[in-house]
């Protein structure tokens, strides 16, 4: 494991449901070095997706400190809304790639245009994008639209989008959750292969124990869940 890429201390988050305050995450600590991998385990509702959202700035913590890619975000201090928001956006743009279970692609654009769009936003050369689709064995589908390819092919395209931006950290939220076993294994293989090849860090939220076992570290949110 290389230098520390991510450090989280005392992270907490709750949601309001009507008048009720529902705690989701409490006192989360974790550390991840560059090139390392971490599996987030836990049953549905345990806060896996919420933690990923916090780690890429899509949601704000109630408390805790996040240090990622050299940027420090302190949840306990009064919000520096616009400044934090801008820094998080810059991180997501260039350094943090996110893969969801589904709907990672713009439906009105071809697979290639989707990859180009993501790479272009990250400041990468859009001309290299065909090569990423080739590497993920969907080069011949470059001109097709998301609804013209299978779920597995869509997830491969999503991986191509993420790795085309050459991220330092990939956050994957159950990226194989909607696929059949065989396809899921193929997509997972590609994910770990590319992670190893590019040297980026990976945080993977999953129910799948086998998949989690392929990661260097595991964090079971069932054990850290608030009472």
């Amino acid at each position: 494991m290389q230098d520390e890429l991510l450090r989280v201390r005392g992270l907490a988050k709750h949601f309001d449901s009507g008048t009720e305050r529902v705690p989701v995450l409490s006192d989360i600590d974790l550390t991840l070095g560059g090139g390392g991998s971490l599996a987030l385990m836990g049953r549905s509702g345990s806060g896996k997706s919420t933690l990923l959202n916090l780690l890429c700035g899509l949601e704000q913590p109630d408390a805790g400190v996040i240090s990622v890619c050299g940027e420090l975000f302190n949840g306990r201090q009064p919000r520096n809304g616009r400044g934090d928001s801008r820094r998080w956006a810059d991180l997501r743009c260039r350094h943090i790639g996110v893969v969801f279970q589904e709907a990672n692609l713009m439906p009105a654009m071809s697979l290639l245009d989707n990859v180009r769009l993501r790479a272009g936003l990250a400041g990468q050369d859009p001309d290299d994008c065909s090569a990423w689709l080739e590497r993920l064995e969907i080069g011949e589908l470059a001109g097709r639209y998301p609804d013209q390819v299978s779920g597995g092919q869509r997830q491969r395209a999503a991986l191509a989008m993420v790795f085309a931006m050459q991220p330092a950290l990939v956050l994957a939220d159950e990226p194989t959750g909607s696929l059949d076993r065989h396809t899921a294994d193929d997509v997972a293989d590609e994910l770990f292969r590319l992670q190893a090849k590019t040297g980026c860090a990976l945080i993977l939220a999953t129910h799948d124990a086998e998949l989690a076992a392929r990661c260097e570290q595991r964090l079971d949110l069932a054990h850290t869940a608030p009472a």
Binding site: C56, L58, S85, R86, A89, D90, L91, R92, C93, R94, V98, F100, Q101, E102, A103, N104, M106, P107, A108, M109, D113, R116, L117, R118, A119, G120, L121, A122, P126, Y145, P146, D147, G151, R154
Partner: protein
């Protein structure tokens, strides 16, 4: 019942969709009811005013003396229904009032069945009890009072005593032709509003159905037969329509009442007849019409009719058929000789333009996207294409509304300008003084020229009205035209706008070197300046060159203007009057001088300034009304696009969140939304522009001439274009602002990729 509950559960989860559909039904019903109600009201009011002007009569003394209270008593004792009408002219700040006697008016309240001109109560603001009017006149603050005796009953019944005669009693100008044209355009506006509301209703309903496609599929998998789902949907829409249409109609009537009351008051002032807003069409017609429209547009897909296959086959031909429809409509509008065909042509052009517009935007976006190397631009273009396809119906409705506003604004402005010119021409002089029957107009003219305060001023002229015959010559059939003989040529005539003329036409006219003709006659006989025209006057043929063609502002009859000195001795005029503008001269000195010349105690003096002010107020109100209705239509179309954009965006917000996930700041994402929505609304505004200009042309040059035989001048007003562009910008920004609110909420991931299909490419 369980099926129905399952279907309705969709709206429990998506109340906004139900609200959108219900709101659209209510607002659409209100708008169309408002327009149709106002049209029927305006038609009733104008008809009433025309009848009143045509049917009102007064009693005059045969000896030319003014009528007095003694005459009133004599006539009432003789059993005639007469009513005293004391008109008190006060200084400008206080205006005119009319004193009437409610007791004497009682016999006007029970007219014969066949005579309906007086069956309205007299309670207008300017009416007072005759005693109060008399007191005002006696107050000595410069007020001038004139007593008239109004006569009830149709002409000839019963015969008046020998000392009296029946005479018309009219204070207003004849606005019938312009009014009819206005009403026709209001009718056309009503049809367009109905079309736009139908489109909006269908768009909201179709979007709702698309959102429920997965639910229907689920029900089908659970074994519910398709016809049962269809039946439940029919019941659902019937119930919803029943709940929403009636309040919509009520709202429309309220709207029409508010807008129409001003219109009615203005007409009251002009015609001195109380005309009430709120009368007119019943509840049943708008309710049934809107129910029919709602059911037709929402359930059109459920119907199985024989023409459906044909329509599908035609639809399969896509843009070729649409283009053909558009071209056929344009061609038909050029060649059509009947009003019905012209309306068919307008319908074809709108249908073609409506189907083409979203496709055109989408295709242009696709081409722009392909031409660009920038990934973000390609995404923007792709997204514009999706929005244009998915929001096609509300966009087309907005396009129609914009085109309609453009046309109506241009038309109303042309009407206003025309009406203003018409009044300027007809009422160029400050006063008209009618020559009493049997009086010597030449003696009066001689007095005015030599001894009156107006002598040598050029501020008066004599007008002789009559008829002339154009004999059949050179293949032209014989024709009777209106004749106006003027002389001397006063300064007022110099203000007339002439369409074509020789140099110094009025000088040549005053020397009797030719005649002038109106636009209608020039068109019909293909007359140009310099052509000769032969007239038969009092049995004598007379040929003279055309010195000028003057605009007739909608008057369909042919007119010839000759110098009064050219009239043959045997010519029998229909009427004579003097047009005078006293300026600084003493009007009373002029009128008393004329009374002396004609040896009469009374003069029929018409104040053109007052008539002009009254006429202006009527038309200002009607134009305001038209503008209000078109702007309301536009607001409805904009609201529909907002609602549709909102509902549609709920299905798409995830993809805009993806942009944020990919590193775009909230402001940048919002900026993208603004760019997309503004591009969309501005594109539709650009496409509405040619349609609006064409509609203006069709109304001015095709509909009006075919309906009334005359044409208004065609004019376009680029400042309206900029106003509409500004409005489209505001609509686009509003949509973006609404969508931006949704971005603040966590977005739900689309359930499945299949949910993405439809309109994406």
């Amino acid at each position: 019942m369980k099926l129905f509950a399952a279907l309705l559960s969709h709206y429990r989860r998506h109340p906004l969709q139900l609200l959108a559909l219900a709101a659209m039904m209510v607002v659409a019903s209100a708008l169309w009811t408002g327009v149709s109600h106002l049209t029927s009201q305006a038609r009733a009011s104008l008809g009433q005013s025309e009848r009143a002007v045509a049917e009102r009569a007064q009693v005059e003394r045969v000896d030319g003396m003014p009528v007095t209270v003694a005459d009133f008593v004599a006539l009432r004792r003789a059993g005639h229904c007469v009513m005293p009408w004391l008109e008190v002219e006060r200084p400008a700040s206080t205006g005119r009032v009319v004193g009437i006697d409610p007791l004497a008016a009682a016999c006007f309240g029970q007219p014969a069945e066949s005579y309906r001109g007086w069956d309205q109560p007299l309670n207008g603001e300017s009416f007072l009890d005759i005693r109060e009017a008399k007191n005002l006149a006696a107050a000595g603050d410069g007020a001038r009072a004139t007593l008239s005796l109004l006569l009830s009953g149709p002409p000839g019944q019963p015969a008046l005593p020998e000392a009296y005669r029946r005479a018309p009693f009219s204070l207003g100008p004849d606005t019938g032709e312009l009014g009819e044209s206005f009403l026709l355009n209001l009718d056309a506006l009503g049809v367009l509003v109905l079309l736009i509301t139908a489109l909006l209703l269908r768009s909201v309903h179709q979007l709702g159905l698309a959102q429920r496609r997965d639910s229907f599929a689920l029900l089908h998998r659970f074994g519910v037969p398709e016809p049962a789902v269809r039946r439940a949907l029919v019941i659902e829409i019937v119930l919803l329509a029943a709940v929403c249409v009636v309040p919509g109609v009520a709202l429309g009537r309220l709207l029409a009442g508010g807008l129409g009351s001003g219109f009615g008051q203005a007409l009251e002032s002009l015609f001195d007849v109380p005309l009430f807003a709120g009368q007119g069409s019943s509840w049943l017609t708008p309710v049934l019409t809107m129910m029919a429209v709602v059911l037709a547009v929402c359930l059109a897909d459920q119907l199985h009719f024989s023409g459906r296959q044909v329509i599908r086959r035609l639809a399969g031909q896509g843009y070729r058929v649409t283009l053909l429809t558009l071209v056929a409509g344009l061609a038909l509008a050029f060649v059509s000789s009947s009003l019905a065909l012209t309306f068919v042509a307008i319908a074809l052009v709108f249908a073609g333009a409506g189907v083409l517009a979203p496709g055109l935007i989408s295709e242009l976006a696709r081409r722009c996207g392909r031409a660009s190397a920038a990934p973000l631009t390609r995404w923007q273009c792709a997204e514009i294409g999706v929005l244009a396809r998915r929001l096609a119906l509300p966009l087309v409705a907005l396009q129609f509304a914009l085109a309609m506003v453009l046309a109506v604004q241009a038309l109303v402005t042309v009407f206003e300008a025309t009406f203003d010119d018409w009044l300027s021409q007809r009422l160029a002089a400050d006063y008209f003084i009618e020559v009493p029957a049997g009086a010597d107009s030449l003696a009066a003219a001689d007095w005015l020229e030599t001894q009156s305060p107006l002598a040598g001023s050029g501020r008066w002229h004599r007008v002789v009205r009559g008829r002339a015959i154009l004999p059949a010559v050179d293949g032209w059939p014989g024709q009777t035209v209106d004749l106006f003989a003027l002389g001397p040529v006063s300064n007022m005539l110099g203000t007339w706008r002439l369409q074509a003329a020789i140099d110094a036409p009025w000088e040549a006219f005053s020397r009797g070197q030719g005649i002038m003709v109106n636009e209608q006659l020039a068109r019909r006989r293909q007359l140009s300046v310099g052509d000769s025209l032969t007239l038969a006057l009092a049995g004598e043929r007379w040929t003279a060159p055309v010195l000028a063609v003057y605009p007739d502002y909608g008057r369909p009859a042919g007119e010839v203007l000759i110098h009064a000195a050219q009239l043959p001795a045997g010519f029998r005029p229909d009427g004579e009057s003097f047009a005078i503008s006293p300026d600084t001269a003493d009007l009373d000195a002029v009128t008393s001088g004329l009374k002396r010349v004609w040896q009469t105690e009374t003069l029929s003096l018409r104040d053109n300034g007052r008539i002009r002010a009254l006429a202006d107020s009527v038309f200002e109100q009607t134009f305001l009304l038209t503008r209000s209705m078109t702007v309301l239509t536009l607001i409805l179309a904009a609201m529909a696009l907002l609602i549709m954009g909102w509902v549609f965006f709920t299905t798409r917000v995830w993809y805009y969140r993806l942009l944020a996930v990919w590193g775009m700041g909230p402001r940048e994402v919002a900026g993208q939304l603004v760019r997309l929505s503004v591009t969309l609304t501005m594109s539709i505004a650009v496409l509405a522009l040619p349609l609006g200009i064409w509609l203006t042309w069709a109304l001015v040059h095709r509909v009006n001439p075919q309906a009334f035989g005359w044409s208004l001048p065609m004019a376009v007003y680029p400042e309206f274009w900029f106003e509409l562009a500004g409005l489209s910008l505001i609509i686009g920004l509003s949509i973006a602002a609404l969508m931006r609110r949704q971005l603040r909420q966590p977005a739900a991931m689309p359930v499945s990729a299949s949910g993405l299909s439809g309109g994406e490419r």
